[in-house]
Amino acid sequence: MAMTGVLRPGHAQLRVLDMDESVKFYTDVMGLVETGRDASGRVYFKTRAERDHNSIVLRRADRAGLDFFAYKVLNKATLEELDGKLKAYGVVTERIPAGEMLETGERVRFQIPTGHTIELYAEKTDVGNGMTYNDPEVDVVDGKGIRPIRMDHALLYGGDIDGSRKLFEEVLGFNLVERVKLEDGATDLAVWLTCSAKAHDLAMVRHSEDNKLHHVAFQLASWEQVLRAADIMSINRVSIDIGPTRHGITQGTTIYFFDPSGNRLETFCGGYDHYPDNHPITWSWEHVGRGIFYHDRKLNPAFLSVLT
């Protein structure tokens, strides 16, 4: 679609158990750039290549997990329009004033049927990516840490993924890219949705408990970068769930691993482009192992059951 409504994932606020340890991990291992700390103690990060002030916000808490996941929309008029559409759809929305998050404008916050808190916003300060807008150099990705290109998407676990999917499709203009069916051939076990031409901007898996985070993903430039990330993880004794491997679904190459509080992260590369005229791809239960992990061709128990 023409990119006029919801543009892309904007920020994820994660709960961490030990802030000092987490800041060190996101800075030294992930290679993110710390961009600020607010009065409540939250610490803000962006990837080096991202232009907006923040994409990952850490909040110290006594349990791990995701506070909220946000999407940036085109402009303030779009934000108002989407708030109106959400209300007309029966969704209760809340306005979070500009400045509640550093360098971030007003946010529209709401809960989706799977219990997750989602936000929309139009404005965040462009602090730049170290390159100029005039006559820039090529961005050479080297130096310390994994240094992903961008915070790319999230996978959320919850009960009513049909309700959440419909809300994203019918109100926010997302498209269904892929789905996995349960044994009955009718019920969705999982769905992958996009608001852009990416293979996914959001994924959801049906689960017995609401409001759970499976992972927040970061994009890398190449398969070699995925392997380099795995080396950096082992050098730093990072807890790896699975990988490096490849997905059948989206076709991306991937590693799943955990931050020091047990929040699962993904570094991935690839995935095809999706356009609204593409038919969704459907995976049957018989082939779900190959769909999720193309080389292993089977699921691992931790991938399905370990959540924050």
Partner: protein, 113 residues
């Protein structure tokens, strides 16, 4: 280098764990099984155990999985605990919500709906 024996009462198995390792690292590094492995970061609660005898040091764990009364009764996450003596423990977590386990006999993992 100080090393202690960790005994898992559930199956009677034991392994050796350096005092520099967490109970989970000690088990995993020997290729042993007995305590389920999750995030290894104190967040997911999968490796919840109750220490029956022995002393240990511990780090911050998610209150979603280890309440204050749990902690008072020696319930901890094996990924956050290092032994300072031989340890006897009982597995508590065991992926209670592991929907794979529920249908393992058929060999096909399934998610609950």
């Amino acid at each position: 280098m100080v090393i202690y024996t960790v005994t898992i009462e559930d199956d009677g198995s034991s392994y050796r764990c350096f005092e520099s390792q967490t109970l989970l690292e000690g088990m995993e590094s020997l290729g042993k099984k007995g305590i389920p492995v999750g995030c290894r970061g104190g967040g997911c609660g999968v490796c919840k155990v109750q220490v029956l005898t022995g002393s240990y040091t511990k780090r911050v764990m998610s209150r979603e999985h280890i309440s204050e009364s749990d902690e008072a009764q020696g319930c901890v996450l094996a990924c956050r605990v290092r032994p300072t003596s031989p340890i006897d423990l009982r597995v508590v977590g065991a992926m209670k919500k592991n929907v794979c386990r529920a249908v393992e006999p058929s060999g096909v993992p399934s998610l609950s709906t």
